[in-house]
Structures are given as C-alpha cells and as structure tokens.
C-alpha cells in the first residue's frame, strides 16, 4: 500500500488524505513526455536497426529446399551479417526463391562471381553465407538471381544410420551362434585343444597320435643311426690313418716295395748278367760242342751259378710277396 492513496477531490464527503502536491500536473506531464520520448526513440532505433532508413539491393537466391530458412534471418559474409531475408516464395518451377535485401553499404562485398551457400547445422539454425573470391570483379547487380549451394549436416544422418544398421546386421550374423565365424572359432578351439594335448601339433598335422608316435620313433632311430655312423666314421678315420701309416709311413709298404723293386732291379741286372754269361757260355758251348770233352767241367760250374742266381731270384720274389700285403688279401675289411 502506498503511504497515501490517490483520491478524487470532487466529492466533498471524501476525506482529504493527502497534502497538496506541488507541480503535480507538471511532474505527471514530464513523465508522460519522458515515456513518449523513450517510446519514439525505441521505435526509431528499431527501425534503424532493421535498416529502414537505408537503400537496399535485392538478391534472389534459388534453392530446392527452404527448410530452416526464416524471414528476417541473416546473409553473412566473413561472419558479418550483410543482408536479411525479406521473403521466401515458391516459384512456378518448384524452386524456392529466397529474397534477400542487402544494404547499399554492404553490397560491395557481393560480386558477380560470389558463391552462396546454405548450411544446416545440428545446433543453431540454418545459415546463409556469401563467399566472394575476387573482390575486384564487377559488383552484383540489383535483383540478381543466384543458385544457393546446400550443405546439410542432418541430410547425412539417415544415410549414416542406414549404413550403421547394415553394419550391425552383418556383425550380428557374424557373431550368431550358428555363424561360420562361430564354427571356425570352434574348430580353432578344438585344434588348439588337440595341439596342447598328447602328440601336440605333430598329431594335428599327421592326423593321429599313432602316426605322430611313429614319426617320433623314426626320428629316434635316425638319431641312433647317426650316432653309430659317427662312431663308424671315427673308426674308419683311425683305420685310414693306420693304413696311411702302413702304406705311406716310414718302413711302410711303399718303402718296402721301393726297396724290393730296387733289389729286383739289382736281381734282374744279375740275371741279365747271368744270361749274358749264359749267352757267352752258350757261345762257348757252341765252341765247346766241337770240343765236347773239355767243355763238361765249365758246364758244371755254370750250372751251379745259374742255380744260385735262380734261387736268389726266387728268394727275392718270395720276399716281395711277403712284403706286399695286397697280394695275399686285397679286400679291405671294415671293422
């Protein structure tokens, strides 16, 4: 409640509740004037803000879908609002015509080569933007008609959802209990179980535990064989060393043979000498044959010499035979 309520002065019966207020009507008038001033300023400011007092150019943007476009929304260039949508109409060809008013002072940003785009974001409204690559190109004439390129984030959503659904269905098929992936995994499982079981990977590769055992046994035998082969090779080696020593070592077979051959050469030389002597004896014998009588003494001597030579040759041959081991036993027996 106010400290003193307003009252009419007309009825005399009404109690006077307030003292007279000085310049009452003047004050009330001042408030009225202030209010009117504020209201007119406000209206003037709003009209100015809406671009009523400046000349504009018209621009018609043509698109196939005006969804999200509202009368009064901005046309921006580099983030600055340079125009406002005045009207949206559907043309006879089914195309949407968006009429945009661009103030004269901002019209310089629009050139004949300018490109216009309309984007719908997920958050916030639709935005119409202008891009002017070459600001030196001729300015856009009044009433120009330009196509507007649409980029719609929400347009992609249905396609994306469809793809995602297909993907999920495939995934579901893959992961189902009777899917081929499931079977494969089951096979892998049984395989790994068998691999970790008796016989291991070999049993899996050969198809059975028995076969694996055979292979293992074969390998064992091969190992043993190799071991014995190693022993055989060592003994062969020893034998060869011995044979080498026997054949080619000092006082070996070769040495003996060399000596025997030298002795043989000497013996053969003796024999040749003896034969020469025989030849001479025979010449002599021819001579003697004429003289048979005197020849018999010389013949007995010669015969003794021949016998002695033959005996030496025989002894030599025996000696060779004795020293030459291969004569007796040519086969080399491996232990």
């Amino acid at each position: 409640m106010p400290p003193s309520a307003p009252s009419s002065e007309t009825p005399s019966s009404e109690p006077v509740t307030t003292a007279p207020i000085r310049h009452l009507e003047l004050k009330a008038g001042l408030l009225l004037v202030l209010t009117a001033l504020l209201i007119f300023s406000y209206i003037g400011y709003v009209l100015y803000a809406r671009g009523i007092f400046e000349g504009t150019r018209d621009l018609v943007l043509v698109t196939d879908n005006s969804e999200g476009v509202l009368v009064g929304m901005d046309l921006t260039f580099a983030g600055f609002p340079i125009g406002r949508v005045r009207r949206i109409e559907l043309g006879d060809d089914g195309q949407v015509r968006i009429r945009v008013s661009v103030p004269e002072k901002d019209a310089r940003w629009l050139r004949v080569t300018s490109v216009f785009t309309m984007e719908r974001a997920l958050v916030g409204g639709t935005r119409i933007r202008a891009f002017s690559g070459q600001l030196t190109d001729p300015p856009l004439p009044d009433g120009a008609v330009r196509p507007v390129l649409r980029g719609d984030a929400t347009d992609e959503l249905p396609r994306l959802l469809a793809n995602a659904r297909a993907l999920l269905e495939n995934l579901q098929k893959l992961t189902a209990a009777d899917s081929s992936l499931g079977h494969s995994l089951a096979n892998v499982k049984s395989l790994t179980e068998r691999m970790s079981g008796k016989g291991g990977a070999l049993a899996v590769a050969l198809g059975g535990e028995e076969n694996a055992r055979k292979v293992v046994a074969s390998i064992d035998r091969a190992n043993k064989l190799l071991d014995s082969m190693t022993g055989v090779a060592a003994r062969l080696d020893q034998t060869l060393v011995k044979a080498d020593q026997r054949v080619f070592g000092s006082d070996g077979v070769m040495d003996g043979t060399q000596k025997a051959v030298a002795q043989l050469n000497a013996a053969l030389g003796d024999a040749r000498e003896s034969l020469k002597k025989v030849d001479a004896v025979l010449v002599d014998a021819q001579k003697i044959s004429a003289n048979a009588r005197g020849a018999t003494d010389g013949l007995a001597e010669l015969r003794a010499e021949v016998d002695a030579s033959l005996r030496r040759v025989t002894g030599l041959i025996d000696e060779i035979n004795r020293k030459w081991p291969f004569k007796r036993d040519v086969e080399l027996k491996l232990p």
Binding site: M1, P2, P6, S8, T10, L34, Y42, V46, R50
Partner: protein, 240 residues
C-alpha cells in the same frame, strides 16, 4: 469487467472528458503509481536486469552458445520479465490501493452522492484512475525496457563502443514490427487490467462494510489470474 473497460477506453479517448478535476485525479494517480516510486524502481530494475543478463550470459557461455546470450537476454527481459514485473509491481502497490479506495467509496455511498450532484462518478472518479494506472504501467515498462537494453549491451560488451553495430543488428533481428506491436499491446492490457479489475471487483461487492476486504481480495485474485492469462497468451502467440 469488459463493459467497464470498454467504457473507460471510450471515455479516455474523448477529449471532452479531460477537465481540470479529471486531469488532477489522473496526475495524482500517475504521481503515486509511477513518479513516487521511480528512483526505487530504476534501482531494482537495474539490479534485476543486471543479474538476469549475467546469469543468461554465464549459462550460455558454459554451454557454448555465447552468440545467442545477448539475444536471449534481450528477449527474456524486454519482452517478458520487465512488463510482467512492472504489472505485478503496480498491481500490488496501486491496484490494491485503488480497489480498497473504490470499495470504501462504494459502500459509503460516495459514488452515489457524486451521481446525485450531477457528476458522473465513472468519468470523474474511476476512469482517471484507470488512465493514470495505464500510463504508469506503460511508462515504467518503457523505462525498464530501456534499462534492460542498456544492461544487455553492457553485460555482453562491457563499456566498449565497438559492439554497437552488432547490438543494433541484434535489436533489429529481435524487435520486428509484430513483436514491437505485441509488446505495446501487452503493456496496454497490463495497465488497463491493473486498474479495471480491482475497480469492477469493488463495485460488485455488497454494501456491507465487513465485506470490503473480500471485495479487495477478489479484485486482487482476479487481477493476478488476468495478468497470468495475458502473459501466457503473449507467449503462446509468439512461440506457438
């Protein structure tokens, strides 16, 4: 109620109704309703608008919608909060006073006395109060709107003058012709309701002195409902 409101409008629109006495009553009504409380109102409105602007700006920034903060603050303040706040303020301060005064005049037979002396009580006692209240509501709404616009600017741009162009553009975007017209109409309806409803409720009260509080109470409840309806209708027209 509607009849009385229509008559009050007709009387207010006829220049012959404004004689010296009528002007005096009207001036008093304006003085007590608006002028007397203007400094306090400016202070409260400034604080309230500052708090709301900062709150809206902070929330919008936190959610990443800074560019919409100013628009939102201006819409909320100028179009809804300030007019509703002014209407409730005037209703509580002057509407109840008008109701009490009229119900007492009605029960005491002062209005009949006026009538017997050849003076039209409607024209000399009631309509000036309605006009005064309406002018007060519109004046306070205008002042509150101006304060909220200034604070919406300061809240976003601070003392920098470089946001003026952007701010002007935002104002141009928000306050199109229909919105401005709607705001004016809403203020006018609020102003009329603040005086007309308590007066009609008082005149409907039986002439028994102990029923006077009931008459005032009825008037205030109806007034509150009417203000709610007007605000709800305004929101519905703008957003539905």
């Amino acid at each position: 109620m509607f009849h009385f409101g229509a008559v009050a409008l007709v009387v207010a629109a006829s220049p012959s109704a404004y004689d010296r006495e009528t002007r005096n009553v009207m001036a008093k009504q304006i003085y007590f309703t608006a002028l007397q409380v203007l400094p306090g109102f400016i202070l409260v409105a400034t604080l309230g608008c500052f708090v709301v602007t900062r709150a809206v700006f902070s929330v919008a920034t936190a959610y990443g919608f800074t560019e919409y903060a100013q628009d939102l603050a201006m819409r909320v303040l100028v179009l809804d909060l300030v007019p509703l706040f002014v209407a409730l303020f005037v209703a509580l301060r002057s509407g109840s006073a008008i109701g009490t005064e009229v119900v007492l005049m009605h029960i005491n037979g002062e209005l009949d006395a006026l009538h017997r002396r050849g003076a039209d009580p409607l024209r000399h006692a009631l309509v000036p109060r309605v006009i005064g209240s309406t002018i007060s509501v519109v004046a306070l709404t205008t002042v509150g709107g101006a304060i909220s616009l200034v604070l919406a600017y300061l809240g976003v741009y601070g003392m920098s003058p470089w946001g003026l162009e952007d701010f002007t553009h935002s104002v141009g975007q928000i306050f199109d012709s229909m919105t401005t017209f709607g705001l004016g109409l809403k203020s006018l309806l609020f102003g009329l309701a603040v005086a007309v409803i308590p007066i009609t409720a008082s005149l409907d009260t039986p002439r028994i002195i102990r029923l006077a509080p009931i008459g005032v109470l009825n008037g205030m409840v109806r007034l509150f409902l009417t203000l709610t309806l007007i605000e709800g209708g305004s929101l519905a027209v703008r957003y539905l």
